[in-house]
Symmetry: C2
Subunit: 145 residues, 2 copies
């Protein structure tokens, strides 16, 4: 009888240890910091280039606005897949942003967010030119390693 109780106890411990350590613990090692994900196929992505010329006397101010807007969008909006912004080394006031949205709906949501509107209004008189170019990606769904 004692042996049976003991066996049962050990089996219960084995069960608890295995399941508490394995099944229910998510492995975050390879996770991006961005928690939200969409199940929208990459073929539906809206991919665009924004070519922006900024008043070079206000570049630092502009970059602060843009950085805050990108970080908020990446963290808060599952449908904003990237807003990878670069400036030309030889002309730091010339910016290009590779914008990838999950789909048109995600983009329409994005331009109504408070962080986007804050950026848009805040930088209106710093932007000297803005060209929006709709594009087709050669390999939809390609990532940055």
């Amino acid at each position: 009888m004692l042996k049976k109780v003991f066996s049962f106890f050990i089996a219960a411990v084995v069960f608890m240890v295995v399941f508490s350590n394995c099944s229910s613990k998510p492995d975050n090692k390879n996770k991006e910091p961005y928690m939200n994900e969409t199940s929208i196929p990459a073929e539906n992505n809206k991919v665009r280039l924004s070519m922006i010329t900024v008043d070079s006397t206000r570049l630092d101010e502009y970059n602060t606005f843009l950085k805050e807007e990108i970080e908020a969008s990446m963290w808060l909006e599952p449908g904003v897949l990237t807003l990878y912004a670069v400036s030309e080394k030889d002309n730091p006031n010339k910016m290009v942003i590779l914008e990838i949205y999950a789909d048109e709906e995600a983009y329409q949501k994005h331009i109504k967010t408070s962080h986007f509107l804050k950026y848009k209004k805040g930088t209106l008189d710093m932007v000297q030119s803005l060209e929006l170019i709709d594009t087709t990606p050669l390999i939809p769904g390609l990532k940055i390693k």
Copy 2:
């Protein structure tokens, strides 16, 4: 005595079950398909835009070359972090590639690979103009979700 042997046996089973199921089993759920990774900090990345105009009568042929070259680079070269290529919807023969290499060394290795040289030689007479623009990323290390 029997109870001690039994306890030892159970302890050994617990140990084996826990370690065979948890510690040694890698979780590939969130892995990108790209197996190689570098430990080079994002601040060292070489980030560039290639602006390419292609002979529009040979666009399909060019795209086949470019796609093969990008896929080979992403799979085989840990230091090629992305080669995200887009074409303008209104001018499909105008391409822009956002190129991110782990560092200058990774780029120098890249341009010596057989797949890059195959692309370069194969498309030489299809490329009407090529502008290479060195850039600084606003947020080094930003990804595509």
